[in-house]
């Protein structure tokens, strides 16, 4: 399989220069490296510019509703654990309206990969505050500046106990593709926060040129990927520092939810009545 096998014929409607063009490229590459045929991949997203992404791949896509990609993806994965399940969306989709689903998706630890295209703004709705917008940001809905601190996707997901947490930017395509691939290969719930600039509503200091200057690969800092507390400490710099690569990777991943479900199904199978006799369970003894 090559990258192009994962590219669909649908022409992206993203603004010229949108960071998401890079992200989808990185996904093509990662998928090619893994090599599963497109029909064995389910790619679920919510709503937003970024959430258009499944349509630009040849996988089975579900561009669902705003903020609900994770619950839907879990239903898909539990129903057919053989599938490679990807989940993607924007910072608003994932951490504003969808924020309530994240901790539960993480703790259930199904083997799926969640990619957030973090552009610190609401793109599709034309430039309002997003949960990751810096304090003080002026937008059409905050003409005098926002009054809130941004949320911290990396620290949150680490606190939720996620076994694989990483950050990337299309400014470093090979690095990003590699991280996405590693995330997909991680046997459990994995999270990649991608700094994907919005060229239309984003700030100058959020663009790729800036990323190139700012980015600090965690590898180069000799960070120990297995140190969860240290990872949280580094994650606290979100918004100030642009660390890329893997913050935390559980050295011994616990069994996935679907694996335990398989065991349970096997254990219980013997207890199954023939479906046509199912009502017997209520027969008065």
């Amino acid at each position: 399989m090559e990258a192009k096998d994962y590219k669909s014929s649908l022409k992206p409607i993203w603004c010229p220069g949108c960071g998401d063009f890079g992200v989808v490229q990185g996904i093509y590459r990662a998928l090619a490296a893994i090599g599963r045929p497109p029909h064995e991949i389910a790619f679920i997203s919510g709503i937003g510019c970024s959430s258009r992404i499944p349509g630009y791949t040849t996988a089975y896509g579900f561009n669902s509703v705003h903020g609900r990609s994770l619950p839907i993806a879990q239903g898909v994965k539990l129903s057919n654990p053989e599938l490679l399940v990807l989940c993607a969306g924007g910072d608003g989709d994932g951490f504003s309206i969808g924020g309530g689903h994240v901790p539960h998706a993480v703790r259930r630890n199904m083997d799926l990969t969640y990619i957030v295209m973090d552009n610190q703004v609401y793109g599709l709705t034309k430039g309002q505050l997003s949960p990751t917008s810096p304090r003080g940001l002026k937008t059409i809905t905050s003409p005098y500046g926002s009054l809130e601190d941004p949320i911290n996707p990396l620290l949150y997901v680490l606190a939720y106990g996620c076994g694989f947490v990483a950050q990337a930017t299309p400014a470093d395509m090979p690095g990003m593709a590699a991280v996405i691939e590693e995330a997909i290969r991680y046997p459990g719930f994995s999270f990649v926060n991608i700094q994907s600039p919005c060229v239309t509503y984003g700030e100058d200091e959020q663009q790729l040129t800036e990323h190139k200057k700012m980015m600090k690969p965690l590898k180069s800092l000799g960070h120990d990927q297995t140190d969860q507390l240290r990872a949280m400490d580094l994650a606290r710099a979100y918004g100030k520092e642009l660390y890329t690569g893997v913050f935390y990777k559980n050295p011994n991943p616990p069994p996935t939810y679907e694996a335990m479900v398989k065991l349970r199904q096997a254990e219980q199978a013997k207890g199954a009545r023939p479906r046509e006799r199912v009502l017997d369970m209520y027969l008065q003894k």
Partner: protein, 581 residues
Amino acid sequence: MVHDLVFGMAGSGGDGVVSAGESLLGAAAAEGYHALMTKSFGSQIRGGESSCRVRLAIEPVLNPGGVLDVAVALNWEDFFRFGAELPLGPNTVLIYEEKAGAPPETLAKMGAVPTEIIAVPVTEMAKKAAGTDKAKTSIILGVLSGWFAIPLDSIVKGLKKKFGEKAPEIFAANERALASGVEFAKTHPLKNPRTLAKVEGKKTQKLLCDGNDMCAAGALFAGVEFFSGYPITPSTEVMQILSRELWKYGGAVLQCEDEIAGIGAALGASFAGRKSMTASSGPGISLKSEIMGLATIAELPLVILNVQRGGPSTGLPTKPEQGDLFQAAFSAHGDVLRPILAPTTVADTFKVTIDAFNIAEEYQTPVIILSDQEIAQRKEAVDPIDTSRFELKKRLVPTGADLDNYNRFKLTESGVSPISHPGLEKGNYLGAGIEHNEHGDPTVSGTMHAKMNDKRFKKLDPLRKRKDLFEVVGNPKATTALVSWGGSAGVCREAVALAKAQGLDVKLLIPTLVYPVAEQVYLEFFQGVQTGLVVELSHQGQLYRIVRMFVDVPKGVVPFCRSGANPFQPAEIVSRLRELR
């Protein structure tokens, strides 16, 4: 000799009123009676007042019955707390715990005062016979058995099953209490004795279950593979049973973080090609409405159970009401047509659940099962159901030619297009909540939008012609008519019989498919009808209004509706019918 007896009992939390009711129910079932039991509690989670109604009959029973034949008050305060739920009449035999003291004047205020009011020293007898007042309810069971000829040995058998091995001494004590109760009955005969007729012929072994049990069983029979939901009274039992059973069939149950995730995961499972279900009650259904709309436009099969409770908002969470029909039919934004099926009895819930799965899969649509607290939670002894008469439907999966440049939303004659699922080679497509063309690509074209709306509505046309989703009871030529649905329909069935007994010829239409409205069915039914009632337990009378949307309802047919909590009684329906003419 009577063929139908309605018992009502109330006491405080510790009294074990409900387990006494269950013993009665079990014993009756074992003797081949049709039996039905409803419970009611105060708002306390534990320790509050509690009551139960048990109805025993030779013929199948379809509702908890009206005025009590036999009422048991372990203390007056708790008894009266249940007011209209335990109605007394002149012919009621009212039994009360002696030490509760003579009936307060509250009784008089309640209108019809029982002619036969008997004090039984329950606690005292229990202490004497069993050495503990824990055996109070066994005293009562003994007395009832003695007076009304409820077979004692079946009651004993039941208690043996309950305590037998675990606690033989407790069993023995209760056996003694039963005996002393029977003895009391012998020594205190009723002024006008009533004994329950025996069931003739061989006794078929009965099923003991409630509507939620039947729904879970129906889902399992229909081949449900995935269930996800969030607990809420009074629907939780369905998730509870499936959490125990579904694994056995290779399926899975996911208790989600909220109702949105509950329907989201279920929809994901359906997208993945599985028969899938979620369940909730009013508040949770409100939260699910956005994703219900997604299921409609993405044309994904999904079964959604709504066990209605009193609303709006948190409302009366433990009481029945039929107030969620509008929501079920109209809750999503945009033009949406969503089939709604309403079970009318405990047993019917099994069939309706199977219908729901079949319709969902065949027409690629969300389907709502609109049950209610009363049907869902009343325990019945019902005859076993022959499952061989049910056929199961599967969704239409694309094959061969369909899969060359596969068009997920192909505009077909029937409006149904073959649906693929992840894992199926060449079936790849983009599911979405955005309007799409035949291939599934997003579109902003109004013309395509119109075509797709048309498709989504057209594919459901066959439903309205399905005779098996409608039932007419009584003489089809009758000029007096009833229309009712869900729990109230069971009451109306009896009303028809009662009316007949009083020489009034009445017919009854029961739509299992409450929405979309089957114009033809109603028009035929209303042929020649002069007067009638649409009977439903809601303030607005929602079915009446929905039928009017599509059918010219005869002037003489008017709504008969009221807010929830207190279900209708056959008698009041018949008298209301008389007033009309």
